[in-house]
């Protein structure tokens, strides 16, 4: 009896701790950003006021007055969607090989594949920018898609490899004995079973592509300006303009929130959890 009661109490403290942590890292910053995004520039917001004394939508009007922002949003959505699917398509064969073939240099290949994750994006962007320039890919949508894919591939490969490793080899063999060619076994068994991995990796790829600035800026600017690049220009050159920055943050946060809301629905089937667990 006392044991279960103690467990209950411990469970409650654990819950308080976790939710507290969540509030601290997610909601407090959001509240601060929200306050900045809606404060009234005409009145201002100075200490010792903890919250602004007056609110307005002035910062929003300023950012959204730019007609080009809708075009940038559409461009961003197109680029991020393409990057996500391209990443999935490119990552699958590599992940399949890493998961199934016991070749000797596997470790080396793994490190090679994952290397871009530990190199800062700006380094990748600068060096690739040079190559892309020579190939005539700078200031093209294709160039931006390619350079973003460089950044999203490692994570996708990592997640997919772990997902595919979890598929018992005997399932593929069973499919073969039942009359499926290797390709059909792959399409009917491995691909659908890798769905949690595709979902988790796809969400992260989409977000990382949508928010990417340095690689996109290096390759795309000034000709190609998806939302992230355009919004960065609102941050204001030498000094940070807080209210506009807050608005920019909100806009960039929107797809992330929408996507995780969708993900949360799908998580009901534990599909996403299965994929995210492979990180």
């Amino acid at each position: 009896m006392s044991d279960t009661r103690r467990q209950k109490r411990e469970g409650r403290w654990l819950a308080v701790g976790l939710y507290g942590y969540l509030a601290l890292v997610m909601f407090v910053p959001l509240v601060v950003i929200a306050l900045w995004a809606f404060y009234d520039p005409a009145v201002g917001w100075y200490p010792p006021d903890i919250v602004p004394t007056s609110y307005s939508v002035e910062p929003w009007r300023e950012v959204l007055a730019d007609r080009g922002i809708i075009g940038s949003l559409v461009l961003s959505l197109i680029i991020s969607t393409t990057v996500t699917f391209l990443t999935g398509a490119l990552a699958f064969p590599t992940a399949w090989a890493l998961a199934h073939f016991p070749f000797r240099i596997k470790r080396a290949v793994e490190v090679f594949v994952l290397a871009p994750m530990i190199v800062p994006g700006i380094v990748v962007a600068v060096s690739l920018g040079e190559i892309f320039f020579r190939l005539g890919l700078t200031q093209t949508v294709l160039g931006v898609i390619l350079v973003q894919t460089v950044g999203t591939l490692p994570l996708m490969i990592r997640i997919l490899t772990a997902t595919l490793e979890g598929i018992p080899g005997e399932l593929m063999l069973a499919a073969r004995t039942l009359g499926a060619s290797p390709r059909r076994a792959l399409m009917r068994i491995a691909l659908p079973m890798a769905w949690p991995g595709f979902l988790a990796g796809g969400l992260l790829s989409f977000i990382s592509s949508f928010e990417d600035f340095e690689k996109t800026f290096m390759v795309g600017a000034p000709g190609v300006q998806p939302l992230s690049v355009r919004l960065w220009s609102y941050l204001g050159g030498e000094i940070l303009i807080f209210p506009t920055a807050a608005v920019v943050t909100f806009i960039l946060l929107a797809p992330t929130l929408i996507i995780f809301f969708i993900a949360e629905r799908l998580m009901k089937e534990n599909v996403l959890a299965a994929g995210m667990g492979k990180l």
Partner: protein, 353 residues
């Protein structure tokens, strides 16, 4: 339908030979079990027949069609795995339909044949379930139905009952045998469980370290094995070093018996099955030995008797006998005529069991 012939099949990995020149005939419609300790090559042999392992040398024929080198999807062999290998993202119905869809059968035909197969294994009610919603026994019945629904030329079983608990294993084993008989499909069944092997097989093939030790129908293989390895692997047996003299032998505790197969090479001893020895308390007459251990099993009682310096296992069946206490002097009555075993290259299987 046709029988299966395997000739000179060898599978070499880097250093090890998992199969070393195996010859095997599986007559049409018969069930052959491959029995042996783990690592003996039985699974490699089965996988070679299925086409999911490529043999290094030798050939496999189905009737007069040579099939080694044919990819598994074109062999039309059904396979049942130890892990069931059901597709977790498909319903029971979809699992069964998979093989038929690969054969591009019309939908109505698929529905009909899936229903028939599910009926055979008594799983009609579960067609809409996902594999994870089924018990182990139900999953294995679905796996069996999935293998037979394609009307295979050969059925291959890779220790299909090993993951199930004892009671379920027995009932499923009987169902499986009845079904195989009814369908008359040529079958190979891999197992390390000798009871399963005897219950199911038309012929048992004993394997060890990539080779066939001995083969035969269950009765003769159990009663008159050639090698010590077989005698010890197929059930338990006392292998007793007896002094040989022509067609007579003298047991360590003094009894003399005739030998039914005198004059064989490298004799390892005579085989006496524990259940073939009668035991009685000495009651004043000359004892052969005394009870060293006793284990009551319900259906019978197992004793170990210290007799003439050897330990002899004796199993007494039935529950109506008085139990004999440890330390009691006893007399042993082995059968009138005893069977000699050859040592062979395989040695004793006791350490493996």
């Amino acid at each position: 339908m046709a029988g299966l012939s395997i000739r000179g099949l060898t599978k070499a990995f880097d250093q090890v030979r998992a199969l070393d020149g195996v010859d095997l005939e599986v007559p049409d419609g018969q069930l052959v079990t491959l029995l042996g300790p783990s690592g003996c090559g039985k699974t490699t042999l089965l996988r070679s027949v299925a086409g999911i392992t490529d043999p290094t040398e030798g050939g496999i024929w189905l009737g007069d069609r040579r099939i080694d080198g044919v990819p598994p999807e074109r062999r039309n062999f059904g396979m049942v795995f130890q892990s069931y290998a059901l597709f977790p993202h498909m319903s029971v119905f979809k699992n069964l339909a998979f093989g038929l869809e690969m054969r591009r059968l019309p939908r109505s035909e698929i529905r009909k044949r899936v229903a028939q197969a599910l009926h055979l294994v008594d799983m009609e009610a579960m067609a809409g379930r996902l594999p994870r919603q089924l018990s182990g026994g139900q999953q294995q019945r679905v796996a069996l139905a999935r293998a037979i629904v394609i009307e295979p030329d050969v059925l291959l079983f890779d220790e299909p009952l090993s993951n199930l608990d004892a009671k379920l294993r027995d009932s499923l084993r009987d169902q499986l045998r009845a079904l195989q008989r009814r369908l008359g499909v040529t079958s190979i069944y891999v197992t390390h469980d000798q009871v399963e092997a005897m219950a199911l097989a038309d012929e048992i093939v004993i394997m060890f370290s990539g080779e066939i030790v001995e083969r035969g129908d269950p009765v003769s293989l159990y009663r008159r094995p050639i090698f010590r390895f077989t005698a010890e692997f197929l059930g338990r047996t006392n292998v007793i070093e007896a002094r040989l003299d022509g067609d007579r032998c003298r047991l360590p505790w003094g009894d003399e018996r005739s030998v039914e197969n005198p004059g064989i090479d490298d004799p390892a001893g005579v085989a006496i099955r524990p259940e073939d020895i009668a035991i009685s308390t000495a009651n004043g007459s000359d004892p052969h030995g005394e009870i060293a251990e006793r284990m009551f099993l319900g259906a019978g009682t197992n004793y170990v008797v210290d007799a003439g310096g050897v330990r002899v296992r004796v199993n007494v069946a039935g529950t109506q006998n008085d139990l004999i206490d440890i330390g009691t002097p006893v007399r042993l009555t082995p059968p009138k005529s005893l069977h000699l075993l050859r040592r062979g290259r395989h040695g004793s299987a006791e350490a493996l069991a």
